[in-house]
């Protein structure tokens, strides 16, 4: 054994023994998305560095959300770290349920977090959750089909262009649908798309007195435009399509365009999964010339419930998982296209990452979304595709169920909007807003 190796072994040993005295087992609740599953696979690196063990509770998104909400609101303490989104963080932070992340280490470089992300994960200027990855939404389109239709995608198209392009690209014989969009019920599924889309049509969820706005012209325009376009150029059964269904359709070459989460860009350009990997282009989400685009802003972030016994170890984990080093680690193992995107400025300054085809468009999309000013007319809420109030998830799920029923042709758009208006006002009344 060389001296160098012996030294290394000795340091490793001391590191091990010193940390072993404080070694904890962290229980982490997370969502079963690809980036998180990759993180689970890399946990050994964290354990080797700190000595702490990790137990994963991986759940499907909706189940996870209910599970962690029940636990945090009852102070159950079942988890040391929870994976939550931009919707939950400000609400929980305001309730004092999360440990403020205000003493992160120097190396962590908290100033490197994209301001849009840090802003959405803070309450009153205090960061409560560290972004693991962030996303906006954008257009992913088939360059070959676009060319075949004799069209050229602008960098920032309008909804009208998208509708006409979708009609031109549609080829039912060959099972090619001009456009694939989410229609599935659920506030985080079809609800997110239609809300972001409604922003660009000048609609909003609530006026400044928290009155529901579904009786407005802007909402009727949004829904009619969506349904008209999807009936003409969308896939069969779009009323039940969510992110997964559309991803798969796009990967199988059955969509001309798809407007969805920017993280999907790495899936549709991955030749292992996608049959159209080498002919995908990107553009900003469309607008209507009203000054707002139809793109959302979201982050999956790691937070520590207040009252955990293992705060220090939990903080260490968060610093590890959302660090620059972690990004390097993933890049070394899986390539730059697969690192968790959208969280750090430095990633987009990295020349290696700039070569990734969708990097710049992802950043531009993120930068063009502003949760504090998401609607054309003023609104009392924060959030682009949601309103960061506790009642929103429940209301928006029911509203999107009414919308989905309209997409499926079981009721008219007018009926859906009427019901949405009534149930939203009712729920807001129950919550004491009106």
């Amino acid at each position: 054994m060389s001296l160098k190796n012996a030294l290394r072994a000795a340091t490793a040993l001391t590191v091990l023994t010193t940390s072993a005295t404080f070694a904890e087992t962290l229980t982490i609740a997370t969502v079963n998305n690809g980036d998180m599953i990759r993180m689970q696979g890399l946990t050994d690196d964290f354990t080797a560095k700190t000595g702490h063990e990790v137990e994963w509770v991986t759940l499907e998104e909706n189940v996870l959300r209910q599970r962690v909400t029940t636990d945090i609101s009852t102070k159950g303490g079942a988890f040391d770290i929870m994976t939550i989104g931009m919707y939950e963080t400000p609400i929980w932070g305001a309730n004092g349920w999360l440990v403020p992340l205000d003493n992160l280490s120097e190396d962590y470089d908290v100033a490197d977090i994209l301001p849009a992300m840090a802003g959405g994960l803070s309450h009153d200027g205090t960061l409560y959750a560290a972004p693991f990855y962030g996303e906006s939404s954008m257009i992913m389109y088939r360059t070959d089909l676009m060319e075949k239709a004799g069209l050229e995608m602008p960098d920032a198209p309008s909804w009208e262009f998208i509708r006409d392009a979708a009609a031109a690209m549609t080829d039912r014989e060959n099972e090619i649908n001009g456009i694939c969009l989410r229609g599935k019920a659920g506030w985080g599924e079809g609800g997110a798309l239609i809300t972001a889309m409604s922003n660009s049509f000048g609609a909003r969820w609530f006026d400044m007195d928290w009155n529901a706005q579904f009786d407005t012209e802007a909402w009727a325009n949004t829904l009619n435009f969506y349904k008209g376009m999807m009936d003409a150029s969308g896939p069969a059964g779009y009323a039940t399509n969510g992110f997964n269904e559309n991803l798969s359709l796009f990967q199988q070459g059955k969509c001309g365009m798809w407007i969805d989460a920017t993280v999907a860009a790495s899936f549709v350009t991955n030749p292992n999964d996608s049959t159209v990997a080498d002919s995908v282009g990107f553009a900003l989400a469309p607008d209507n010339g009203l000054g707002k685009r139809a793109n959302w802003l979201w982050a999956w972030a790691l937070a520590i419930p207040a009252g955990t016994q293992k705060q220090d170890a939990a903080l260490q984990f968060i610093e590890w998982a959302t660090s620059k080093d972690y990004i390097e680690l993933v890049a070394a193992k899986e390539g730059w296209a697969n690192v968790p995107p959208g969280a750090r400025i430095s990633l987009y300054e990295n020349p290696n990452y700039q070569e990734v085809p969708f990097a710049q468009m992802t950043l531009d999309s993120i930068l063009s979304a502003d949760p504090n000013n998401s609607t054309v007319e003023p609104s009392p809420y924060v959030g682009v595709q949601f309103a960061a109030i506790p009642e929103f998830a429940g209301i928006a799920t029911e509203v999107s169920q009414e919308f989905s029923a309209a997409y499926a042709g079981q009721q008219t758009v007018e009926e859906a909007l009427e019901k949405a208006q009534a149930l939203t006002n009712d729920a807001m009344e129950a919550a004491g807003y009106r």
């Binding site: 798969s248 506790p390 429940g394 209301i395 799920t397 009712d426």
Partner: protein
């Protein structure tokens, strides 16, 4: 024969079960009643004081309430009819002499062992998906346009999934009952020239009366609270919201525990109405 001594011993032996169940019923029931008169919003700091009957009126006046009752009854009724009818036929078939009887029986009862979540996932993705589902391929094979099962035929789809899960249970109980049928009586009837449908109507079916009652009773208890099958497939959209799903939505999605608790009280009332109704119709068969 029962002496005073054995009576008190009997009480003593029943005590643990009765006390435990009494606790299991009373503690949650009391808490549900308590919360139902409260404004209890976990995300807004929990208990925000008494509100009288506000939650009760709000729950019934919601546009989702009556449709949810209807959906509940349709699902329970639909599944009961399908499982009982097919269960009787299947039990008669499986009771016939055949080769490989044991294996066939295993095949038939297998769905009962599958977790509701798994069966919902399998049906939703691998059978009912309009693009990749096996049923879509089958429809296309015959030149028809694939059905969008979970949006266009949402309720029948859920009834189908749940029936698939519970048919084995019905078949098992009915098969056991049919095995105890007196073969000679049937033979005698056949000798007398009674046609098959008459033998079935006058001998087999009456004999199965009690078993059918049991199937209906037990299945109703479980069917009133089905959840995973709806959560996984439609998430309550397209008119598939049952009463228990509506309560789930109020408690967990809207985080309004008070409102959900009031819904829970309504669910208990509905369950009791159904139970009384059942007892009237079929209860006479069940002289426990």
């Amino acid at each position: 024969m029962a002496t005073q001594h054995s009576r008190s011993a009997a009480r003593l032996m029943m005590a643990p079960a009765v006390v435990l169940l009494l606790g299991w019923m009373l503690v949650p029931l009391t808490m549900t009643l308590y919360f139902s008169f409260k404004r209890y919003l976990p995300l807004r700091g929990g208990d925000l004081g008494w509100v009288g009957f506000e939650n009760y009126t709000r729950f019934v006046t919601s546009s989702a309430f009556w449709p949810s009752i209807q959906t509940t009854l349709l699902i329970v009724g639909g599944v009961l009819v399908i499982t009982v009818v097919l269960g009787v036929l299947l039990a008669i078939l499986l009771n016939q002499p055949m080769w490989g009887q044991g294996v066939v029986r295993i095949l038939v009862i297998a769905p009962f062992f599958v977790m509701p979540t798994v069966s919902a996932l399998v049906w939703k993705n691998m059978f009912m998906d309009p693009n990749y589902g096996l049923l879509a391929h089958l429809w296309k094979f015959f030149g028809a346009a694939p059905v969008e099962w979970l949006s266009q035929a949402s309720l029948p789809s859920i009834i189908l999934i749940v029936s698939w899960q519970w048919l084995p249970f019905a078949t098992l109980i009915l098969l056991t009952a049919i095995q105890s049928l007196d073969g000679e009586q049937l033979e005698a009837a056949e000798m007398d020239g009674a046609p098959a449908y008459k033998r079935f109507g006058y001998i087999t079916l009456p004999h199965l009366g009690r078993a059918i009652t049991v199937v209906i009773l037990i299945q109703t208890i479980f069917l009133l609270s089905i959840f995973a099958e709806i959560f996984v497939t439609t998430g309550g959209a397209f008119g598939t919201k049952t009463l228990s799903y509506l309560i789930f939505q109020r408690v967990l999605e809207s985080q309004n525990v008070g409102l959900g608790s009031a819904g829970g009280v309504y669910a208990i009332i509905l369950a009791n109405i159904v139970a009384i109704f059942l007892m009237r119709i079929v209860g006479k068969n069940l002289d426990a």
